[in-house]
Symmetry: C2
Subunit: 290 residues, 2 copies
């Protein structure tokens, strides 16, 4: 399909993309790049790319498609390193969980002869690193693409085909709208999970060991979410501040209303709220995303 793809950042997402394009022969040559020597060694051992390097600038030379799979906070510095080496007509994309801030960071450095296609695959696990990746990660999951006004249709098509080859379904929306939707479906849930596990972590030792022992009662689901990569998530909250603070405000108001109902012993209010939430679960199951 294309001659050469370069994947920068070989963590969970980058290595899962590499496994897919390796298997489905989307590109004749796959270059894997990572600034960590240790990660590079692991990628070589996994055998999921044709070439592995820690020299980011050189890795993008002659590449038709470059995918940035680094934490959102590293995009700016990676772009300043690779921008001069991007070939004319290259397509650049990313996988960041935040789109508005990424668009800003990338376009600051983007050469005129390169097309940028911001993208975000809605898939992941709580594990990190190249060994955590697997080819089926994107199967049946959405990938959101948020093209800029100046992005060419051809570039969007290349990135769409790559994601469809990974088993994803592609959806187009604007970057700001993406950040609001994901603020609700992803960033807020992670923030809440980190908070509740942090609250437990601050308990006295006896109580903490019992919380771990009896975690099966609901808590353990939060610990899974709260064991996600801390660097990635720090960057998400620093770069989607506005949307996160907005949805957090709504959440806090709703929590305060439930708190008041508990204090007043208002069983009807609690029952109604707990009953209505079942409809959303049913809709998710019906859409095959459960």
């Amino acid at each position: 399909m294309i001659e050469k793809i370069t994947i920068i950042g070989m963590g969970l997402i980058g290595s899962s993309i590499a496994r897919n394009v390796h298997q489905n022969k989307f590109a004749k040559e796959i270059v894997a790049a990572d600034i960590s020597e240790e990660v590079c060694q692991k990628v070589i051992a996994l055998g999921i790319s044709d070439y592995v390097t820690d020299d980011l600038a050189r890795s993008v030379e002659e590449a038709d498609l470059v995918i940035l799979c680094v934490p959102v906070g590293a995009i700016d510095s990676v772009m300043s390193t690779i921008a001069p080496s991007l070939k004319e007509g290259a397509v650049l994309s990313d996988v960041g969980s935040v789109k508005g801030a990424v668009v800003e960071s990338v376009t600051k450095h983007l050469p005129e002869h390169v097309d940028f296609v911001p993208a975000h695959p809605i898939a992941g696990t709580e594990f990190s690193g190249p060994e955590a990746g697997f080819a089926e990660l994107f199967n049946g999951r959405w990938c959101i693409i948020t093209p800029l006004p100046e992005t060419s249709i051809k570039a969007v098509e290349v990135v769409t085909k790559m994601w469809e080859g990974c088993g994803s379904m592609v959806e187009i929306m604007g970057p700001r709208h993406h950040d609001l939707v994901l603020g609700i479906t992803s960033h807020l849930p992670h923030l809440i999970a980190y908070t509740i596990v942090g609250t437990a972590n601050d308990l006295e030792d006896d109580l903490k060991s019992e919380v771990i022992k009896f975690s099966a009662s609901g808590f353990r689901d939060f610990t899974r979410i709260a064991s996600s990569d801390p660097t990635m998530w720090r960057d998400v909250f620093l770069n989607n501040k506005e949307a996160v603070l907005e949805v957090l405000q709504r959440f806090t108001e709703d929590l305060t209303a439930l708190q008041r109902a508990i204090r007043k012993g208002d069983g009807d209010y609690l029952y109604d709220k707990f009953h209505d939430t079942r409809a959303i679960r049913k809709a998710i199951i019906d859409q095959g995303q459960a």
Copy 2:
């Protein structure tokens, strides 16, 4: 092992107990009781008990062991119905998620010749009703028993053996301490999950349909928890008010601190908090409760 066991309330937990004692022959006779005619019909069809009735008082006559598997808010009325029919020397137990309030409701009605062994199996799913139960539900999970000062050792042993026969490990603690530990591991997580799914449910229709579509990014885990039985959970919050409000206060303080860090752009604070929570996940995995 014993002659006759009566299980009152044939939902997820009650029907799962019935399946176990049916399979492992813990009792010669299993009586299933439920005030709902519809539930009784389902239990007859499932064939997991020797006798099914909607007459709670008659169901406990001659029973050696009676297990209350009704929502915590129904305990008081069930006790006033069955207390006069409990035989001398019978052992009474329950499965309520709250222990302090249950002990109060039960002891108010408890005849002197009956031993009460409060218990709480730490197991469940988001599904409800007799058809949702299954024999393996309690396998490898803890069951907390909170005996009263007057509970006989023999009665505790009977209930312990029943739970060990269901595959559970039994732990003893005081009712108030149970309510604090479960307030953190179970009640707070459920309250938070109900809140966040409720917040999403209140969104404008377009945004809500996108939240459902892109739920795989974290939100869907909360919807699973928030689809648990609304009556059961209303009763939990009404009956463990003190502990829930206490842990909710700690949670809100911690959330406010993270909110402030996001607003100020304090990446180090966010990273440290997100990093520390991984240790709890690791401990849960190490203890085989993940």
